[in-house]
């Protein structure tokens, strides 16, 4: 049993140790933002004025939309939610199959939620928020907190497709394909954050055609990843790839994953699903590019 003073000293020491881990250089004054980045408390009068202005804008927008709708509605004009998915854009990584209800893709936040649920990023529901208002048919949604991540989306008609997702604790190099049977991607999991993950390559239909698992080193030390069981020989058409005996490889460099889509498939995207230590998870996805 420690005394009260010992206890307080231990707290002081812990705080001092922790504080000492942050030793930032003092940025030049010119690097400071002109305006504070945090939301500031507006004077009450300004809040009322802003609210009134917003109401006027919303009312005006509704009136304009209603007028345009009445004037322009033809027999082929769709006004409700899309009932079928349009063709995914070339840079889409999800959804690639049409098994996702279009209504769940009707907005960027809704689509990001559906994507995170499909990727089993948990625990659900994952908190999500738009980082900025959608612009030119593109939007970015942030999810989770630590480590969390972002989902980039692109709108086609009234459906939002995911074009990439990222997490600050996962580094994914561009996925390159030198030929249809080989996809190469570098993965780096920040140590001490992740329990492990699965790297998959999906084809044009969103089907997983090959995967490898990645785990951080048991020590949780330096930035090392261990690649387990890469498949070496592609399977015949309609058959799963033939896997070599388990292999392990470790490196202080980003782990290079070699993925082998079977013949007859087209690698479309690489998806990295990771499980965080202590629960939660994250997902990173990049389209596959020809080398």
């Amino acid at each position: 049993m420690t005394t009260a003073t010992d206890h307080e000293d231990a707290i002081r020491a812990a705080l001092a140790r922790r504080a000492a881990t942050l030793d930032p250089p003092v940025p030049p004054l010119t690097a400071l933002p002109a305006e504070p980045r945090l939301p500031m408390a507006l004077p009450r009068r300004r809040v009322w004025l802003a609210a009134a202005a917003a109401l006027v804008l919303v009312a005006g927008a509704v009136a304009v939309l209603a007028a345009r709708d009445d004037a322009g509605r033809g027999p082929d004009t769709r006004t409700g939610p899309a009932t079928t998915l349009p063709e995914p854009p070339a840079d889409a990584v999800w959804p690639l199959a049409d098994d996702v209800p279009p209504a769940s893709l009707a907005g960027p936040v809704r689509a990001a939620r559906a994507y995170l649920a499909a990727m089993r990023v948990g625990p659900q529901p994952v908190p999500v928020r738009l980082t900025d208002p959608p612009s030119h048919g593109r939007a970015t949604v942030a999810y989770g907190t630590r480590p969390g991540g972002t989902v980039s989306l692109r709108r086609v008609d009234r459906v939002w497709f995911v074009t990439a997702s990222a997490s600050p604790a996962i580094t994914v190099s561009p996925a390159m394909s030198s030929d249809p049977l080989h996809v190469e991607v570098g993965i780096r999991l920040r140590p001490g954050v992740w329990a492990g993950g699965v790297v998959t390559v999906v084809d044009d239909a969103g089907t997983i055609v090959d995967l490898v698992t990645v785990t951080p080193p048991p020590s949780g030390g330096v930035s090392t990843a261990i690649l387990v069981a890469p498949s070496i020989t592609p399977g015949r058409p309609g058959e799963p790839p033939v896997r070599d005996p388990l292999q392990q490889r470790s490196s202080v460099l980003p782990c290079i994953c070699m993925l082998h889509p079977p013949e007859g498939t087209t690698a479309r995207a690489v998806v990295v699903n990771v499980l965080a230590l202590g629960g939660g998870g994250s997902v990173a996805a990049v389209p596959v590019r020809p080398r």
């Binding site: 625990p123 480590p147 965080a276």
Partner: protein, 161 residues
Amino acid sequence: MATAPPSDPPSAPAWDDALVALYREQYVPLARLAFLLTDDAGRAEEVVQDAFVRAQRAWAGVREPLPYLRAAVVNGCRSLDRRDRVARAHPPAPPDPATQEPDEMWDAIARLPERQRAVVVLRYWADLPHAEIAALLGCPAATVRTALHRALARLREEIEP
């Protein structure tokens, strides 16, 4: 009186010499204070930079610069915390990669509720008296004493179960 430091471009707003000196002297300590309150180095630095920008704008009316800056930092961190509270309630925070070695006491401090953590940091790291902590947090000194008492009890429970 108000002059821009030599490194500033001509169009930059003027920074008072005293504030510039305070900036150079207090940036790191305040960043560390924010870091202990948020556990996020990037956000901690943002909060401190914003605090100095606000101080510059309000400089004419600032009588006690350091307490002003400290209050701006604490309030900035608490604003962040309020915004993140719901999200933070979901996934348990994974270990910070910056800390490779576990620190049981720090981990316990980081798990304290916002107000208790702030009181502990301001009392045992910033060495502020109860009255000043109360002024910073906008609550009575008795509330600070209660929060500190509960925080100490909770930390003791966690460290010596």
